[in-house]
């Protein structure tokens, strides 16, 4: 039976809670109501109020309490109702959780789940991709799965990790994609990228929902005789530079793609990494396809213009191919 991306995250958390009594959930409306997106539907009934903690509207307290519990050896999974609200708990994440191990040797096993991304007409406060705030904070791990398989494997790995992990789950993927998952326990290692499609002529390096955009673009380009490799980062920190560089060494051309806005986005870091590591292999400029530097707009024509799409990727890839 095919499993959706949302169901994969559910299964991952469920299995970890069955496996380890120290794993517990906290967040707004996650208990009786089952979560704004119903990711935790049924958890309260099965695991009880001790392990599925409904909280006040209080992101700093949710993250702060999760840190306190993590310091004491529990494994909290904190839900931000929308990734956009993570800014309310920002200080707790970047100044408290991220620095404990370095400053005083204290482990903070903590997962913050952040439903992110646009395409659902959520407007400026229900559509953002705030991953870079955390990517540039040493001490945090940042993951952003694209597939149901990876979503399950990575949420399980994140829960077992002894460092704070920010888990960006793209809410546009929740019910849009599904696949058959293996029976039984598996994890996907944090910090390992995946070649989602092999190719020879150019590499598209991306993550999250844009992996699907890249794959569709690669399919169209294949009809034109262009062989595109798609690298799915899966984890943004620690970044799997080896897989990224190996792909570009092979294809000599790099198109960097993300749904996040342009300035200070992941593409900039990837471009610098590639320039430092594989400059002599490049046969063209490193190019970016990203959202523009604007808030995420609400109205459909505006949001469609904002989000990177297959046409834009195909067009940029053709240009790069000809270069």
């Amino acid at each position: 039976m095919s499993t959706t991306y949302l169901e994969a995250i559910r299964q991952g958390m469920w299995e970890e809670m069955e496996r380890d009594p120290n794993v517990f959930l906290l967040g707004e409306d996650i208990g009786v109501y089952g979560g704004a997106f119903k990711v935790t539907a049924g958890f309260f009934e099965h695991f009880g109020e001790k392990r599925v903690v409904d909280t006040p509207i209080s992101e700093a307290a949710i993250v702060g309490a999760a840190i306190g519990a993590g310091l004491m050896g529990l494994r909290p999974v904190a839900e931000m109702q929308f990734a956009d609200f993570i800014s309310c708990g920002f200080d707790q994440i970047v100044n408290f959780a991220a620095k404990c191990r370095y400053r005083w040797g204290a482990a903070v096993p903590l997962v913050v789940r952040a439903p992110s991304g646009g395409g659902i007409h959520g407007g400026p406060f229900h559509s953002q991709n705030p991953e870079m705030w955390f990517v540039r904070t040493p001490g945090l791990k940042v993951v952003a799965p694209a597939t149901a398989y990876d979503a399950k494997g990575l949420i399980k790995a994140a829960i077992r990790d002894n460092d704070p992990v920010i888990f960006f789950e793209h809410k546009g993927l929740y019910r849009r994609i599904k696949e058959d998952l293996p029976a039984g326990d598996y994890t996907v290692p944090i910090g390992v990228a995946k070649v989602a499609r092999e190719g020879r002529d150019l590499s598209i390096i991306t993550y999250g929902a844009m992996v699907w955009t890249a794959l569709e673009a690669a399919g169209r380009l294949a009809e034109e005789g262009v062989s595109v490799e798609v690298v799915d980062l899966r984890t943004l920190v620690p970044l799997d530079r080896e897989t990224v560089c190996a792909s570009v060494k092979k294809t000599s051309k790099a198109l960097l793609l993300h749904e996040d806005t342009r300035t200070g986005g992941m593409a900039g870091e990837l471009a610098a990494t590639l320039t430092e590591a594989v400059f002599e292999y490049l046969d063209g400029p490193i190019v970016r396809v990203t959202a523009p530097d604007t808030p995420v707009p609400y109205s459909p024509p505006l949001e469609e213009a904002f989000l990177p799409n297959v046409e834009r990727v195909v067009e940029k890839a053709r240009w790069l191919r000809r270069y």
Binding site: A60, M72, P138, D163, P238
Partner: protein, 332 residues
């Protein structure tokens, strides 16, 4: 001041308690005097210095009530918490000097230190950030069935921050065992209490969260001790958190570089007469708990102990720059 002994205490244990209080208050005073007035001026303290001079009764009177399974979340004027939980004075000096032997091994400075082996969580500079963390600690204690409570420390200024309100509310809603301890020293850096909050007391904030709140003379260590016993008993009972406001005065600037010209001299004079160490010594003499010679010997012993701790810290090496990138993440 109460004339009846605390429940379960006859005169003799009370004398012994006073002796312990005096020791830890004197240690805190002497350690911070060395740091602020000697080592800092000698250039041996490489960063900021924040002391709790005049406020020693609060960290001492509260932390002596804590049991081994309680978890402490001290703020930056609560040095005695560390001493009472068994962190050596030498490690504290080394911490201020940025040495390998410091509690954070040179990774952080001054009172930014913690050690879970001693049940202490380190603060960060953003005030009140540890308040929701304390709620989480208490949640974990209940979750795992440990008979302990969290001691959450902060100053008056910290209660203006959202983290404070979110943390107290969270603890109140979930009836978590937290003793919230405010050292109300009446100044947040240069900002007086009247410009910090519109209510007269930090304890006035308690009713908004439906938690008990008590005001205690923060310069009377035995009164702080007794109030903390009440607070801890309540927090441990499962009824929820307890807010203890200890009224005191910051007898220094905000930090070693701040001469505090904005504080009227009259306030220093007035509060100087209520110095918690002098008050306790006077009481010990009056009650016959100690003689002057015993107090003199105790003071000399504290000086010697602190001399030894400074010497230990000064021989501790600076951290090796080669370790710069270690411990950002768990090493595999």
């Amino acid at each position: 001041m109460s004339t009846t002994p605390a429940i379960g205490m006859d005169r003799q244990p009370r004398a012994a308690l006073a002796e312990r209080c005096l020791y830890y208050m004197s240690m805190m005073r002497e350690i911070e005097d060395r740091i602020e007035r000697k080592l800092y001026r000698q250039g041996k303290i490489v960063g900021g210095v924040y002391v709790g001079r005049g406020q020693e009764a609060i960290s001492v009177g509260t932390a002596l009530v804590a049991r081994p399974d309680d978890v402490m979340l001290p703020a930056h004027r609560d040095l005695a918490v560390f001493l009472i939980r068994g962190v050596s004075a030498g490690r504290i000096f080394a911490q201020y000097m940025g040495r390998e032997g410091g509690v954070t091994r040179g990774r952080d400075g001054n009172m930014h230190m913690g050690d879970l082996k001693h049940g202490i969580v380190a603060i960060i500079s953003a005030l009140a950030a540890t308040v929701p963390v304390a709620a989480g600690v208490a949640l974990a204690l209940r979750y795992t069935g440990i008979d302990g409570v969290a001691f959450s420390y902060f100053g008056d200024g910290a209660t203006s921050r959202g983290d404070w309100h979110e943390g107290v509310n969270f603890a109140a809603v979930h009836k978590l065992g937290v003793v919230f301890i405010c050292n109300n020293n009446q100044y947040a850096y240069s900002t007086p209490l009247s410009a910090q909050m519109a209510c007269a007391n930090v304890a006035d904030r308690g009713p908004a969260y439906n938690i008990p709140a008590e005001i205690v003379d923060g310069n009377d260590v035995l009164a702080v001790y007794e109030a903390t016993e009440r607070a801890r008993a309540y927090a441990r009972s499962g009824q929820g958190p307890y807010l203890l406001e200890c009224k005191t005065f910051r007898m220094t600037g905000h930090s070693a570089h701040d001469a505090a010209h904005y504080v009227p001299q009259g306030l220093f004079d007035e509060w100087g007469k209520m110095d918690p160490i002098t008050r306790l010594e006077t009481r010990m003499l009056a009650e016959g708990w100690a003689g002057q010679d015993a107090l003199d010997r105790a003071r000399a012993a504290v000086h010697r102990e602190v001399d030894g701790a400074v010497a230990w810290a000064e021989q501790s090496p600076f951290p090796d720059p080669a370790t710069l990138e270690e411990d950002v993440y768990e090493s595999h």
